[in-house]
C-alpha cells in the first residue's frame, strides 16, 4: 500500500518525513547490536512476503503483513519497513524519495501500535491467539488505509472521494490479512515461539 510520488503537498510530505525519521531513530536506538542482523533479515522476509499473491475471487492481491512485522519487532518496525520500502523502490520502482517518509509512516505506525495492542493477548489460549492475530492483521491494514486517506485529504480536501475509494478497496485486503496473520501467529506459537517477543515476566 503506498501513495505515489507527486501527489502530496509539501507540508504533508514534510510531516511524513519528520515522523519517519523520528520513528526510525527511536527504532535504531532500541536495536541492540546483537539484534540488528535479526531485524535486517526479518526486513528481507517482509520484503519477500509482499511478493506473495493470494486469490480473492477472480482477482489476486499481494500480502502486506505489516501487522506481523509490528508484532515481531515493535518500534524496530520503523527501520525495518524503511529498509524494505527503499529496496522496493530500487528494484521495482514503487516509489521515489520524497514520498518515502509518508509511506513509512503509513505502514509502520499501525505496525508499532498493533505490537502494543495485541502482543499482550498472545500465549493465553489458542482461540485468543488466532483472534489477536486476526485483529492485528485487520487493524494494521485498516489503520494504514485511514492514514493514507488522511494524507490525501490534508493535501487537498477535494481528494475526499479518492480517499474513500482507497479505504473501501482495502476492506477485502483487511479481512485476508486478518486471516493470514491469525494463522501465522498460531503457526509461530506452535512451531517457533522464540520468534515472538512475549513478555517474560
Amino acid at each position: 500500500m503506498h501513495i505515489s510520488e507527486g501527489v502530496l503537498s509539501g507540508p504533508v510530505l514534510a510531516a511524513g518525513a519528520v515522523i519517519a525519521v523520528a520513528g526510525t531513530s527511536l527504532g535504531l536506538k532500541k536495536i541492540e547490536y546483537d539484534r540488528i542482523v535479526h531485524v535486517a533479515i526479518l526486513a528481507s522476509a517482509f520484503f519477500v512476503a509482499s511478493l506473495i499473491h493470494v486469490n480473492i475471487g477472480p482477482a489476486s492481491v499481494h500480502l502486506i503483513l505489516n501487522g506481523i512485522v509490528g508484532l515481531l519487532l515493535g518500534v524496530a518496525a520503523f527501520p525495518a519497513i524503511l529498509t524494505a520500502l527503499l529496496l522496493q523502490s530500487v528494484f521495482f520502482q514503487y516509489g521515489g524519495l520524497t514520498a518515502l517518509g509518508v509511506n513509512v509512516v503509513v505502514m509502520a505506525v499501525p505496525a508499532v501500535l498493533s505490537h502494543y495492542l495485541f502482543l499482550p493477548l498472545l500465549g493465553k489460549s489458542s482461540t485468543l491467539n488466532f483472534t489477536a492475530g486476526f485483529l492485528a492483521g485487520l487493524f494494521s491494514i485498516l489503520f494504514s488505509s485511514l492514514l493514507l486517506g488522511a494524507a490525501l485529504w490534508f493535501t487537498n480536501h477535494n481528494f475526499f472521494e479518492t480517499s474513500f475509494a482507497i479505504i473501501m478497496a482495502h476492506i477485502p485486503v483487511m479481512i485476508i490479512e486478518g486471516i493470514i496473520t491469525g494463522f501465522c501467529v498460531t503457526f509461530f506459537l506452535k512451531v517457533y515461539p522464540e520468534i515472538i517477543p512475549l513478555r517474560k515476566k
Binding site: F187, K190, Y192
Partner: protein
C-alpha cells in the same frame, strides 16, 4: 507405441535460464521406463537439478518435447495433473516442509488430491509407518534433524502415491545410518526412480545404471565408462567394477 511404454521421455530438449545464453540443457534426450532405477552423478552446476525441474514443467525448454505417460506436454495446464504423479524430492528438505507438524505435512498432498480429512490422515500415518517414522507424527517439522527431515520429505512425496520418483541428492548431509535406511527403503519400492547423488557408493547400492551429464547432455552407462573410471581413480579409494 514405444512412447506409451516409457514413463518419461525427453527429446532434444534445449534450455537456457532467462537472461543467460549458456545452454544448461543442450539437445538432451532422456528416457525413463517402468522398472528403471537410474543413478546420476555429475559435477556441480552441470544441470542436474535443472533437468528434474524441466521434467516437472518448472523450466520451460526453448526446444524439444517432453512426453510423460505417453502424452506430450506443452503448456502449464498439461503439467498440472502430471505433477502429483511424479514424486520430486528436493535437494533441500527444508524447501519442502512448511506445515507445522509432520502429520500436517504428509497429509497436505492427499488433502489437495481431494481426500477427506480422515482419509488423508490415515494415508499419512500409513506412509509414516512404512518408513518407520510414525513416532514423529506430532513433531514440529522444522525442529527435526537433517536426516529426519529427509525421511519426512520422502514420506510426503510417497503419500501421494507417485508413479515415479525423482530424487535430488537425497543423501547430502546424512549420516551412514540414515543413508542405510534410505538404501533399504529405496530397494524395497516397486516404482521406478531417478536419483541424483555425488556419492558413488550410495548410487551403486540403489540403482542399476549410472548416467552422467556433460555439456548439457546425458551420458549413459556406455558413454561414461572411461570417464567414470578416471574420476574414480582421481577420487582415490573407492573400488570400482570394470564391467
Amino acid at each position: 507405441m514405444n512412447n506409451i511404454s516409457s514413463i518419461i521421455k525427453l527429446k532434444d530438449i534445449t534450455y537456457f535460464y532467462p537472461g543467460s545464453t549458456k545452454k544448461v540443457l543442450d539437445h538432451l534426450d532422456l528416457e525413463i521406463n517402468p522398472g528403471d532405477r537410474i543413478g546420476m552423478m555429475a559435477p556441480n552446476g552441470s544441470g542436474k537439478t535443472t533437468l528434474l525441474h524441466t521434467i516437472m514443467g518448472l523450466c520451460k525448454p526453448a526446444s524439444g518435447t517432453i512426453a510423460i505417460f505417453g502424452k506430450v506436454l506443452t503448456q502449464e495446464r498439461d503439467f498440472l495433473p502430471v505433477r502429483s504423479k511424479i514424486g520430486l524430492l528436493f535437494q533441500d528438505s527444508d524447501d519442502q516442509l512448511f506445515c507445522p507438524t509432520v502429520l500436517d505435512d504428509v497429509a497436505f498432498g492427499p488433502l489437495n488430491l481431494g481426500f477427506s480429512q480422515k482419509d488423508a490422515g490415515d494415508i499419512a500415518r500409513n506412509t509414516l509407518e512404512k518408513l518407520g517414522i510414525l513416532s514423529f507424527e506430532h513433531s514440529i517439522t522444522h525442529r527435526l534433524s537433517g536426516g529426519q527431515k529427509r525421511l519426512v520429505a520422502l514420506a510426503a512425496v510417497l503419500a501421494m502415491a507417485p508413479e515415479v520418483l525423482l530424487l535430488d541428492e537425497p543423501t547430502a548431509g546424512l549420516d551412514n545410518t540414515v543413508k542405510n535406511t534410505l538404501i533399504h527403503i529405496l530397494n524395497g519400492l516397486d516404482i521406478s526412480y531417478f536419483v541424483i547423488s555425488h556419492e558413488f557408493d550410495f548410487v551403486k547400492a540403489v540403482t542399476d545404471k549410472i548416467y552422467s551429464m556433460e555439456n548439457g547432455r546425458i551420458l549413459t552407462d556406455n558413454d561414461i565408462h572411461i570417464h567414470r573410471h578416471e574420476h574414480v581413480h582421481k577420487y582415490g579409494k573407492q573400488p570400482h567394477s570394470h564391467k
